[in-house]
């Protein structure tokens, strides 16, 4: 069977990528040194990954990447990054009884990190149970995955930049690639710089709150650790209580950053150039912020009417209080764009409030943001297409292009978006059934909300679900088969299904 793909080129390029991934492991190594922890976990990881990188690079030292090679490379790169990311978990967990010593669990955790999902199988979260270095690596995987490891490669590696547009289009979230500058490497750099800038701003604000006395728990380590997972809409926290561990001031301050993480980063580039109109007139931006405002208002109403019982963590007593509005706003800002932080154990809220949150999880971030899910722009196009279908049923002769922010959406793109959305929903549905059956096989009965949310939270790169999968819950109890399916879902969800499936389909079609 021939794949009609120059796979050596893809693998060779992968080697280059791995070398640079090894370099990022110096961050946890540095943390280990600072906290005087075991440095061998990361020292050894760096050597292993570096060696693998050099070895793969030799397969094709001068890769020439075309369209199919790009798809293969991007799919491989994310999977390999997740594989390699397990090395520190396995080394650190070896012989300690940590759940991450199991390779399937390690892969789940690593994939959940790089894809910015935030679902965890870590048995006991917290600095009491794991080293600062290992937990910062867990955070860092999300930061690397957020703006995209390929985009990062394009930004810094001249040899990748030549075919960069092809690669970036396969990875960047959203239906189409937006080139901001004539050179793709420049565009990638701009996006990463904006991403970096917001991360720094987050750390400064949070640590500033700490220094000002408003956030006793938000020390420098925590500020950096959460900086790594807020902008990429990740959701990992080194603390079991997630953001509920921190003061109300921290929670309020985090909300704008959460909102920003779901905005198309290209719009900030226009803002930087002084073109505020571009952002304010953007249809997706308006829909995204509008959706946040409306769903926050509705959730506030539900909470005011007592949809959440008094809980240990983030309890809501009902009535109009600062707490009610904060819980509503935070949960929406976190779940709508697929981050997955929590300040309240929403898995214990009343069912109607949970179903409402499930609906919110379907929305997703904007194209070109770090958020997962279907994406606001696709929903806009889908709704406009449906409206057009209904309209043309009554007026069969009308020619009506779909428009977004005044410009016409190409019919091919409309078809692509419809296919994507349908595929997403199908994959989500089948997976929910599979997970439910497979879990029953091992003797655990999932509730409907649990089964549905397990599927949605992984394919949408959201993280927490409901019931046992709640924000303070865990995915550890699933069977290996379900976990591997979820690893697949996170992978295809981050790459927006198409690159991965396209590689499989071209393999099937070519015999």
């Amino acid at each position: 069977m021939s794949w009609r793909v120059d796979w050596q080129a893809s693998v060779g390029l992968l080697g280059t990528g791995l070398k640079y991934l090894a370099v990022t492991m110096f961050v946890p190594l540095f943390v280990a040194v600072v906290y005087m922890e075991d440095i061998w976990v990361f020292a050894l990881s760096i050597v292993l990954v570096m060696a693998l990188g050099f070895a793969l690079e030799r397969i094709d030292p001068d890769p020439d990447v075309g369209a199919r090679e790009a798809l293969l490379f991007v799919s491989l790169a994310w999977f390999t990054a997740a594989l390699v990311g397990t090395i520190p978990y396995l080394l650190a967990g070896f012989g300690t009884g940590s759940t991450l010593a199991n390779p399937v669990n390690a892969l789940f955790e690593s994939m959940s990190g790089f894809t910015t999902t935030g679902a965890t199988v870590m048995g006991q979260i917290g600095l009491e149970h794991h080293s600062h270095a290992l937990l910062i690596w867990r955070q860092l995987t999300q930061w690397l995955g957020g703006m995209g490891i390929i985009v990062l490669m394009i930004a810094i590696l001249p040899e990748v930049a030549v075919n960069g547009a092809q690669l970036m289009a396969s990875e960047a979230p959203g239906p189409e690639l937006q080139k901001l500058t004539p050179k793709i490497a420049e565009t990638a750099r701009v996006l990463w710089l904006i991403y970096f800038g917001f991360t720094i701003a987050y750390v400064v604000v949070m640590y500033g709150l700490h220094l000002a006395g408003f956030a006793p728990n938000m020390n420098l380590y925590n500020a950096v650790a959460h900086g790594f997972t807020t902008l990429p809409t990740g959701g990992f926290s080194p603390h079991a209580e997630s953001i509920a561990y921190f003061s109300a001031a921290v929670q309020w301050a985090a909300i704008p950053f959460l909102v920003v993480a779901g905005v198309n980063f290209a719009l900030f580039w226009h803002v930087l150039k002084g073109e505020f109109d571009v952002m304010l007139e953007n249809a997706e931006f308006r829909a995204y912020t509008g959706a946040i405002a409306v769903t926050t208002a509705l959730l506030s109403l539900l909470l005011v009417r007592g949809a959440a019982p008094p809980l240990d963590i983030g309890g809501v007593t009902g009535g109009v209080t600062e707490n009610t509005v904060r819980q509503a706003a935070f949960q929406i800002a976190s779940l709508l764009n697929s981050t997955g932080y929590a300040t309240s154990d929403f898995a214990q809220w009343d069912t109607h409030a949970q179903v409402f949150l499930l609906f919110v999880m379907f929305i997703g971030g904007s194209a070109g943001s770090t958020g997962g899910g279907v994406k606001v722009v696709r929903w806009l196009v889908v709704f406009k297409t449906i409206r057009r279908e209904l309209y043309t049923t009554a007026h069969p002769d009308v020619v009506k292009p779909v428009r977004l922010t005044g410009s016409v959406v190409d019919e091919d793109a409309v078809r692509g978006i419809a296919a994507f959305t349908l595929l997403y929903v199908l994959l989500f549905g089948f997976s929910a059934v599979f997970i439910s059956l497979d879990t029953a096989r091992i003797g655990i009965e999932l509730s409907t909300l649990e089964a549905v949310s397990a599927s949605l939270a992984t394919i949408g790169n959201i993280g927490p679900g409901f019931g046992r999968l709640g924000p303070f819950g865990n995915y550890e109890f699933f069977s290996d088969a379900s976990k591997l399916l979820m690893v697949f879902l996170m992978w295809v969800g981050r790459l927006e299904i198409v690159p991965v499936l396209a590689v499989f389909i071209s393999a099937l079609d070519s015999d």
Partner: protein, 443 residues
């Protein structure tokens, strides 16, 4: 004045014909048959060759020319010809273009591309149609003095309330002048007791408010225009849709070609584009053509426009307008039942006439296929009109000239017998074609 005209097509020939009497005209065309025909039919010098080549231009005597008019059917040729001529000559260059994109460029930087005046025929035709749509009942509408003064032509029919009245009875408006009545082949300058008859075309000049009021008197049943159907998506139809949308007038456009329809739908966000055979009666009825205020036929050929306009009228459209490329057919169209036939070539002729009389007239509107003109003139201090009441000075002008309105420092002045015209006033006068030159001389 020596005038070089490039392109001996319909526009070129008619411009040549209208200029040949008073000026030295040279016409260039690629087609030797046309050149031959022109040599014998008009008193002009016809040169066979490519208007965009220096050699041909030199042969046509571009060095001594005062004016170059490039009016072939090809935009690019016209533009390049003007640019080429500019490299060796100081002649004033006029280029005719169809595509509005060139006009946008030129408007942004006047004189660009070596063109001193760019005339967009499609846009001009679309504008004149949209002006007519805006005034129910009117057959021709034009604005003067930056929109302060309006000229409009109305047809009197049996149903018109003022038919049979005298002008004095009908004229109940302050700022309105009954400038002329076109009756059969005659141009009648009305006095108070002239009677308005069925079939008359009445030309009025006045403030836009009083002209609209007058229009409401004539067509009391017509409300605001709220449903315009453009049948055919040629370039003129496209421009009309754009102009109507700009004025927030709801409009629909029918185009049979799927690709063109898609293009139009993309380019015209506020227009409802329908893709179907525009002569399919069932389709037109389904789209409620009987409730349409105005149907405009812009299908790109005179035959199809005629059919479409008649069909719309037959199926119940209140008013039907057709574009007619061949000016000779205008009367025929209107005779068989089309309410208004608009000739896009008339628009360019108006523009070119306006220019050739630049020293005298600010603006020109040609009435009824060149039977008369309405001119806007700025009065200078040597004029016979300055400093005297109109009833005295009018005697110095040829018979049949009517001073319709005066614009003074941005305000509308009603011309009466004792009104004294001042220097720098803009006056709008009506004159029959045969006395236009004489009138301009006198003023």
């Amino acid at each position: 004045m020596r005038v070089v005209i490039i392109g001996a097509g319909e526009v070129g020939s008619s411009v040549a014909a209208s200029l040949a009497d008073d000026h030295e005209v040279v016409v260039i065309d690629l087609d030797s048959d046309r050149v031959d025909t022109l040599t014998y039919s008009l008193d002009v010098l016809a040169v066979q060759g490519d208007g965009a080549s220096l050699r041909t231009l030199r042969e046509a005597g571009i060095d001594d020319a005062d004016l170059l008019i490039a009016c072939t059917d090809d935009d690019e040729t016209n533009i390049v010809s003007c640019g080429t001529a500019k490299t060796i000559s100081d002649a004033f260059t006029i280029a005719r273009v169809r595509n509005t994109k060139f006009l946008d460029t030129w408007n942004q930087s006047e004189g660009a591309l070596g063109i001193d005046l760019m005339v967009g025929t499609n846009l001009l035709a679309a504008q004149s149609i949209v002006r007519v749509i805006g005034l129910p009942g009117a057959e021709d509408v034009d604005y003067f003095a930056d929109g302060l003064i309006q000229m409009a032509e109305f047809r009197m029919t049996e149903e018109t309330p003022i038919t049979g009245m005298s002008v004095a009875e009908a004229d109940t408006f302050d700022s309105l002048t009954f400038a002329a009545i076109l009756r059969d082949e005659e141009v009648v300058i009305p006095s108070g007791d002239t009677c308005l008859r069925d079939g008359d075309d009445v030309v009025v000049i006045g403030s836009p408010e009083s002209v609209s009021e007058f229009a409401r008197t004539i067509e009391p049943h017509v409300d605001d225009i709220s449903d315009v159907l453009i049948v055919g998506g040629d370039e003129i139809g496209f421009e009309i849709a754009g102009l109507l949308s700009e004025r927030e007038i709801p409009n629909r456009l029918v185009e049979p070609d799927p690709e063109r329809a898609r293009y139009l739908a993309e380019a015209l966000p506020k227009t409802t584009v329908l893709e179907n055979d525009p002569t399919d009666q069932e389709f037109l009825l389904r789209e409620r053509i009987d409730e349409v205020d105005v149907a405009i036929a812009t299908l790109g050929s005179d035959e199809r426009n005629l059919l479409s306009a008649l069909l719309s009228k037959r199926l119940g459209a209140s008013r039907s307008i057709a574009v007619v490329e061949d000016g000779d057919y205008s009367d025929l169209f209107e005779a068989v039942g089309v309410d208004i036939a608009v000739n896009p070539r008339e628009a360019i002729a108006e523009e070119i006439t306006r220019f050739t009389r630049e020293q005298h007239a600010e603006n020109v509107a040609i009435i009824e296929d060149d039977r008369a003109e309405v001119l806007e003139v700025e009065v200078d201090k040597e004029s016979v009109l300055v400093g005297r009441p109109i009833h005295e000075s009018i005697k110095e002008l040829p018979d049949g000239v009517v001073i319709g309105a005066i614009a003074r420092d941005g305000a509308y002045v009603i011309p009466r017998g004792d009104t004294v015209i001042e220097e720098n006033d803009h006056i709008v006068v009506f004159a029959a074609q045969d006395i236009v030159e004489e009138t301009l001389e006198a003023i």
